[in-house]
């Protein structure tokens, strides 16, 4: 090893620190049932998958997971369409209009989520959305977050206006040029927005807490709270549940990792 390689070792050390919580989570979830938890730092090689089976017996985890999957399957595509439409429209408006939309988007970003809890609760009750999956995915119909709209706006604005003009002269409508010209060029942005949206809805704890009543409609985050209340101090059991709620976003992220690795070359 060369001395210059200090950078590599520093990177390795930092990475190890960042992966440590996940490693701890994993070892707790795989801890053998009935064996007392260690009180000194030790690495046992005795692992079990029993905790996952026990979680499944204790709560209808399959049901919760399906609910969560349904939420993201609906919310992610809707968010992608609405936010990319808005970004696409914004990018081609006159400069002054662009500025107004930016200011509006930034203003909406400043509104605290807390401010909307109670009044959205009244609104959903009034509209008959309370205790339905629609209450969980409603924000997707506004693109979930102005942040995503601005991300798309940024990406679409980089496309030279001449390209849109050419398409228009060839008779392409707004939707055609969005689908055939805009989206393919903005693909990295779309992947990023999709991942962020997935994480946002998969991890949303507040909406199901406030807008759901029936346990059969619970998503994983509130199911974890349920598990926490049921298990008291059965840590391996709770950590098995935590791990199950974590696997899908982590897997998705690792799948999309090449997109992020290219960031900044």
């Amino acid at each position: 090893m060369e001395i210059r390689d200090w950078r590599f070792w520093a990177r390795l050390a930092v990475t190890a620190v960042f992966l440590l919580p996940l490693l701890w989570l994993l070892t707790a979830a795989l801890h053998p049932v009935g064996r007392p938890l260690p009180t000194t730092l030790s690495l046992s090689l005795d692992f079990t998958l029993d905790n996952f089976r026990r979680v499944w017996q204790l709560v209808p985890l399959g049901r919760f997971m399906l609910n969560s999957l349904l939420v993201v399957i609906l919310a992610v595509p809707i968010t992608l369409v609405v936010s990319s439409w808005a970004g696409f429209g914004m990018a081609q408006l006159p400069k002054a209009s662009q500025r107004r939309w930016i200011v509006l988007s930034l203003a909406v970003l400043m509104v605290p989520g807390v401010a909307l809890w109670a009044s959205r609760f009244f609104l959903y009750t009034r509209l008959g959305l309370y205790d339905t999956i629609l209450a969980l995915i409603a924000p997707a119909f506004m693109g979930s977050s102005p942040f995503f709209v601005l991300m798309f706006y940024r990406a679409f604005r980089r496309i030279p206006v001449a390209i849109y003009e050419a398409a228009r002269l060839e008779g392409a409508g707004v939707l055609a040029s969005w689908w055939q010209i805009g989206l393919p060029i903005a693909r990295p942005t779309a992947v990023g927005v999709a991942l962020l949206t997935f994480v946002l809805y998969w991890g949303d704890f507040v909406s199901p807490l406030l807008y759901l009543r029936s346990q059969s409609r619970y998503t994983l985050p509130v199911a974890l709270q349920l598990l926490q209340q049921l298990t008291a101090s059965d840590w391996p059991l709770l950590m098995a549940g935590v791990l199950l709620a974590t696997i899908i976003p982590v897997g998705l992220f690792l799948l999309l990792q090449p997109y992020f690795a290219r960031l900044g070359g």
């Binding site: 439409w85 807390v114 909307l116 109670a118 693109g143 969005w178 690795a261 960031l263 070359g265």
Partner: protein, 302 residues
């Protein structure tokens, strides 16, 4: 052939039509509820019977509650120390992982990985990690000869516990810093190298000043988010305890509203949250104007 039942829309009008779902969503899901919650502060409302006018009584009620002042203090304490640490951490990591090397993609992915965990799962994982008796963190501290604190069971250590776990979720700031570092023209760096500037000089006289605007914006964005959105973690980890050591403004608003059905009082407390957010935004605006940071390009990174 389409029959001209109505005048066909021009391209510009169709473009604006694409913005319609976004706009109507904002009006229905943000503007309307936000106005409603603003107005509710002047009423007594329990979601069961019709609201009754209270004038400014809710404000009096909330601000004289001794938990209120405590919650504002706690909220600010959980912003002032953690946020600069998080931004500095993200920045230093971005510098370390800036240039090519073996496994660079995987190293960067590992830094970002904790940020994709669902908040509830992440919080509960740390409830285990920081468990005073069996938690691996305390076992580790013991092994290296440090007397381990009781974390969320101790009023002194509950806030540092929250600070600690927030340090692993800095993926977004990390990515923003990485992207901004790439925007520094290599000619500037080359010139500094030719002039014989060493590593430390290049950092303090070149990288840091060029990155300062981004770091500032990240700090403010993180401050606003932390102030407003720290609810889930605290709700699951401490419930505001022990002895209200982690009782923040969002916790108070939640309990007043959904706990005690005092939605008017909750809205009055919300005004304070708006005011604090407004102060942060104002400071950001003033500094950004001072530094001549464009209001177009940089803000979109965030």
């Amino acid at each position: 052939m389409r029959k001209p039942l109505w005048r066909p829309l021009s391209y510009q009008q169709r473009l604006r039509l694409l913005l319609l779902p976004y706009l109507s969503g904002i009006l229905l899901l943000v503007a309307l509820p936000a106005l409603l919650s603003f107005g509710l502060a002047f009423f007594r409302y329990d979601a069961l019977s019709p609201p009754t006018w209270l004038g400014t009584l809710n404000f009096l009620f909330v601000t004289t509650d001794e938990l209120f002042l405590l919650s504002v203090q706690n909220s600010l304490a959980l912003v002032i120390l953690p946020v600069p640490l998080r931004v500095m951490g993200a920045f230093l990591l971005a510098i370390l992982l800036r240039r090519n090397g073996r496994f660079l993609g995987w190293f960067r992915a590992s830094i970002y990985l904790p940020s994709v965990l669902p908040t509830a799962a992440y919080a509960l994982a740390w409830l285990w990690i920081l468990n005073p008796l069996y938690g691996p963190m305390n076992l580790l501290l013991q092994a290296i000869g440090i007397a381990p604190p009781a974390w969320f069971a101790d009023t002194q250590w509950a806030k540092p516990g929250l600070l600690l776990l927030s340090l692993w979720q800095i993926g977004e700031g990390f990515l923003v810093c990485l992207a901004a570092l790439q925007d520094i023209p290599s000619t500037v760096e080359d010139a500094a190298l030719v002039d014989g500037a060493n590593r430390v000089q290049r950092f303090f006289y070149l990288t840091l000043p060029l990155m300062a605007p981004i770091l500032l914006l990240l700090t403010f964005r993180d401050a606003i988010l932390t102030l407003q959105e720290s609810f889930t973690t605290i709700f699951l980890l401490t419930g505001g305890g022990p002895y209200y050591a982690t009782y923040t403004l969002p916790m108070l608003i939640y309990e007043q509203g959904f706990g005690l059905l005092l939605f008017g009082a909750a809205s009055a407390a919300l005004w304070v949250l708006y005011a604090l957010t407004g102060l942060i935004v104002l400071a950001l605006y003033l500094i950004a104007r001072q530094w001549q940071i464009g209001t177009t390009e940089e803000t979109f990174v965030l």
